[in-house]
Amino acid sequence: MIARIMGEGQYRLSDAVRERVNAVDNAIVQAIDDDDEDAFHVAFEEMLELVRREGEPVGDDEVEASDVIVPPADTSFVEAAKEFTGDGLIPD
């Protein structure tokens, strides 16, 4: 699966990493439901780190569509509330 972090580029994720990202994705949705801003920032940072660290960057010369679009790193709690609804970014 390919994930794009807005403003940073695309990463290829293995199925195992996809599962881990999905778990964090659900934790973010939960944090937003709980109106817990601190928990959101912790989980969102974890998602970004997971994608950056475990993903393999897609080359600039490759033109591929993404399966998941992760909002930019400076996304605020208010903005995130519009993104992470229902199943979050990755459908369960």
Binding site: R4, G7, D60, S66, V68, I69, P72, L89
Partner: protein, 253 residues
Amino acid sequence: MAGMAGRMSTVIKAKISKLLDKAEDPAETLDYSYQRQLESLQQVKKGIADVVTAKKRLGMQAQKLEQSVVKLDTQARQALAAGNEELARTALERKQFAQTELQGLDQQVAELQAQQEKLTDSEKRLRAKIEAFRTKKEVIKAQYSAAEAQVRISEAATGVGEEMADVGLAMQRAVDKTEQMQARASAVEELEAAGTFEDLTQLGSGQDDIDRQLAELGTGGVVDDELAKMKAELASGSSPPAKGELGPGEKQL
């Protein structure tokens, strides 16, 4: 992109399908979306230039404020040495205010610098994707039948369309930031025009509207401390030499 969730994905998908719907003929679709990509690249370049301009403007204001801080500090010392504590206090209040403004400006210049770097990275990435698309476009035109081409075009345009949407968002954020900074720059310019950081000795007694407002800003504590420190330095004779020439109004002190 089936199965993609999230508002951002939906927005991007809508933009791309709008792009693909523009033309009927596959070759035309390819050329049209390539054209749009080049336009989008031009916009990013302009966006970067705007950020640079805003940054320069704020940088120049910061320089002016630094000069004001030095000048007001010198005046405070001169006033105190001449026994005019009231004028010294006024100068220190203004100095304090100028320093606060200066800190704000420095921070914003740093934020704009970060925006500029992000946009420059985005521009580089988009340029590479457009080049890859251009190559792919020629291959598709040459090798595929119309029906097959439609699928390939859709794939390629979706990939590059996403990149354009990504850069578009980065641009929007940079524009918002730049506008905020420009509002701030205008506010500082107004303060300057009102004489807030001017040579105090030109204002006669040094008491006017600005000073009353500054006194209300509650910089008193800091100003009291600094005034006390300056007095102590004067008393012990360890006062550092004045950094500037004595102002033309010095005789009034």
